[in-house]
Chain length 246, copies 4
C-alpha cells in the first residue's frame, strides 16, 4: 500500500462561494476521493488550520507520498514545517506539488530557486501535451488533453532545469508552460503539475486524475534512509552510514 497524505491550504473553499461550489469539502477531499478508490493507495488528508498544519515528523515518517496544494496562505506555513517536508523528501518520501504550490515554502526550499512565473486569469483553455509518452506518469494519456478553463501560467518559470519535462501546456491566449516536470533530490522524487486552479473543476477531469494516480505510484519510494555526513577512518569504515533498503 502506498500511504498518501493530501495537504491543502483549505482557505479559498471557506471564503469564496465560487470555490466552495466547485470543491464543497475542499480540494484535499476531492483528491483523496479519487485516490482512495485505488486498491494500492491509502489516503489521509491534512490542512493548514490543524495543529502544526497537520504535519509532524512522525506523520511524514509514515507517509510515502505527500501531495501539496496551497495559494493565498503560503506564508502561514511555519518554516519548521517546510523543513520537515524538505528533509523527508531527502530521505526518500515522494512529493507532488499542484498548481499554485509552485510558490509554497517546501517546493521553493527543494528547488533552491524563486519559482516565479507569469500568470493571468482570463478563462483561457489549455491543451496539455505529452512530451514523453513512454514515461509511467503519462501512461493512459493520449497525445494531449484539453482543459476547458485553467488559470494561465507563463514562462519563464524560474525552476532549475528539470530532470525531465513530461508535459507542456498550450494556452488559448498564446502562452506555453512546462506543465509537468520531474526532479530527484537526494533519495526523493518530486513532481510538479500545473493544472488545478481553485475556481475550475480541474481535479474532476479524468486525465488529471490519471496523471496524479500515475505520479503517486512513480514518486513512491522503494528506498528510504537519511544520508548523513559521516567521518570515516578508511573506506571499510561504515560507521554512521547504514544502507537501509525498504
Amino acid at each position: 500500500m502506498i500511504r498518501v497524505l493530501v495537504w491543502n491550504e483549505f482557505k479559498h473553499e471557506l471564503t469564496s462561494e465560487t470555490v466552495k461550489a466547485v470543491y464543497p469539502d475542499g480540494i484535499h477531499e476531492a483528491i483523496a476521493e479519487f485516490l482512495g478508490k485505488e486498491d494500492d493507495i491509502e489516503v489521509k488528508t491534512a490542512y493548514l488550520d490543524q495543529e502544526n498544519c497537520g504535519i509532524t515528523k512522525e506523520i511524514l515518517d509514515e507517509t510515502d507520498v505527500l501531495i501539496w496544494w496551497g495559494h493565498m496562505a503560503h506564508h502561514l506555513v511555519p518554516d519548521a514545517v517546510a523543513t520537515l517536508v524538505r528533509d523527508a523528501v531527502h530521505e526518500g518520501m515522494g512529493a507532488i506539488f499542484l498548481h499554485s504550490a509552485h510558490h509554497s515554502k517546501p517546493f521553493k526550499a527543494l528547488m533552491g530557486t524563486s519559482c516565479n512565473l507569469t500568470w493571468r486569469e482570463t478563462g483561457d483553455s489549455e491543451i496539455v501535451w505529452v512530451i514523453d509518452p513512454a514515461h509511467p506518469i503519462t501512461r493512459g494519456i493520449d497525445r494531449c488533453f484539453k482543459l476547458e478553463h485553467e488559470e494561465t501560467y507563463g514562462e519563464p518559470f524560474t525552476i532549475p532545469n528539470p530532470d525531465k519535462v513530461l508535459l507542456i501546456g498550450n494556452y488559448s491566449g498564446g502562452e506555453v508552460f512546462r506543465s509537468g516536470v520531474l526532479y530527484e533530490r537526494v533519495n526523493g522524487k518530486i513532481f510538479y503539475f500545473q493544472p488545478g486552479h481553485e475556481t475550475f473543476p480541474t481535479f474532476k477531469v479524468p486525465e488529471v486524475q490519471t496523471i496524479i494516480k500515475n505520479a503517486v505510484r512513480f514518486v513512491a519510494p522503494t528506498y528510504r534512509t537519511k544520508i548523513d555526513c559521516p567521518h570515516v577512518r578508511n573506506i571499510d569504515d561504515s560507521e554512521g552510514y547504514v544502507i537501509v533498503k525498504k
Copy 2:
C-alpha cells in the same frame, strides 16, 4: 573572426515558384546575407549539388560553425559527408540545425535518435517563448515573438533530453514544440532551431536573425581537438593524448 559555413539543400528554391518567390537566391544566401553584415562573422555557403555536397574534411577544419538546412533530399547526402560533419562536431566545430534539418543525416547521427515529430501545414501562426532569458542565445529577444505563419511542428519530438530548452513555440492550431534546444557532444555545441519553413519569409524576421547570430557566437568553439582512445602505460603517460586549446 568566426568562420561560418551555411549549407543548404537548395532544391525547393529551384523547383517551387512559391519558394523561389521568398528566397530567390536560396535559403543559404538569405542567411549568409544577414550574417555577413556582422563584423566578427565571415560567411561561406555550400549546397547539395556541389561536388561532395561542398563539404570536405579540409573545409570543415576551417569552419567554426556549420549551419544546415535540408528537407526533401536528406537521403541524397552521402553517409560519408554526414560522418565528416559528426566527427567535426566531436572535435569542437559548432553546428546549428534549422527547421526540417531535424531529419538530416548529421543531426540524427549526433542525436542517436529518430528525431521524429508531428507536423501540419495549415498556415498556423506561432508565438515563440523565451524559457531562459539569461542565455546568450536569447539575448535581445523579449518575452516572446510572433511568426505570422510557420509550419506546425508538434510533440513528441524524439530527441534526447536536451541539455537546455531555450525556446518553446505555441501554435495557433493548439500544438506546442521545443523550438530551441541545446546540446553538447564531446567538444562541440549543437543548437536546433525550429523556425524556417521554406514557403514563409521566416529568415527575414528580425528575432529569427538575432537568435541565429547569437547562436553562431555561442556554439563557436574556443577549443578544438580530436579526443582519441589512447593506450597509456600509466597516469603520467600522455602519449596519444594532446591537449590543444585554440
Copy 3:
C-alpha cells in the same frame, strides 16, 4: 517474465587460453547462467558467428532487454544489425552495454559520440563507488565494492552527459571512470557498465551480478511502440500515431 537476450562477440574465448580458462563456455553463458536463476527473467543467448549475428527484427521484437559484450570484432557486426538494435531501443527495448562494448556499433549509434576513453592493462584493482544509493540499479550494494583486477579505463570518456551517473570507479593506478551511467533514448533505457574485462572473472563477482540483475529489471520496458513522424490535419487527428501501452 523479462525476456533477456545476452549477445557476445565470443572470439576471445575461442582464441585465448587465458580467457577460455575464465569463461570456458563464453561470457554470454556466464551471464546467462546467473540471470537464468532469477524467477522473473528468461534468458537466451546469441553471438557474432551465428547467422546475422543471431539478431533479426523478429528476435528483437520478442526481447525486453538486450545485453551486449564485444571487443575485438566490433567491425564485423554489420551496420544493419546495429541499426536493428538502435531502432528497437527507440521503440522501448532496454539495453545494457558491458565493458568494451563502449566501442560497439549499436552503443555508438545510440550515443551519437565517439565513446573513446583511455585504457591500460596493468592489473589495477578497482573500487566501484555508489553515487546514487537510492537508485534501483544500486539496490543491495554497499557504499562500494572492490574488484581485485580490472582493465583500467580512464577519463575523458566521450559520451553525452549522462542522465545519471550511478557508479564511479577508483583505480589503484590513479584513474577514475564513470563506471555506471544511464540514458534514455526515445522510449528505451540504456545502461553502460564498465566492469567485465575478458581475462578476469568479473562476471562471477556477486556485486557485479547484482547490478546486472537490477539493471535488467530497471531497463525492461513497460511501454513499447514506434513513434513515427505523422502528418496530422489538426490536433484531434491521431492518424499515424497510436499509443500502445504494454
Copy 4:
C-alpha cells in the same frame, strides 16, 4: 572588469597555528592575491566577523562573482545573509563555493539538498581528473593534476544531479569525489570546487589557481535582472517584467 568578492569565514587562521602557518593573512587574502594579478579581475574581500559578515544588498549588487569559503562557523552566518546571496545568484551573480563551503548556508539554500558527504583527514593525496577538456573552466589543465595532500571527501555527495561534472578526484585511500560541478539557478551560474582544506597549501597550487581564475570568468554574468512573478493581462502586456541585458 569582473568584480570579485572573496568571502572567508576566517576563523581557523586565527585559532590554529597549523592553518596560520599556511595562510597567515587568511584564505581570502591568498585567493585575492592571485586573482588580483589578472588584468580583467578586480578583487575585494569580506569575512564573518565584519558587520553583517561584510555582505549587504548594495555590496552584492556591485559584485559579479562571489567566492565563498567556510567550515566551522556556518551556523554563525545569519539566515538573512544567506538569503541575500541566494537572491543575488538568482538575479545573475556568479558564485564559487570552495571545499567545506558545501555545507554553507547559501550553497545549501541554492541546492535545495543536504549537501552531505563522507570525509576523512588522513593525509591522502588526490589526483583530480578532467572530465570535460573542452570546458572553459578546465582550460590550461592537462589530463589530471595531483595534490600531495587533501582532506578526503567521499561519495555519496547529496547534491542535485549537476548540470555538468567537470572534475572527479581519485584519493590514494580509495575514494572518488565529484570535485568540480556546475549548476545554473535562474540567471546565475554556480561552481562547486572541492580542493581547499585549510591545513594544506592547496590554494597555492598552480592548477587550483588556474581553475579558480577560469571559473571566475565563466560564472561572471552577462545578464543580470530580477525575474518577478507578474500578473499580466495578455501576452503583449510586459508590465512588471523588464528585460535588462547588461
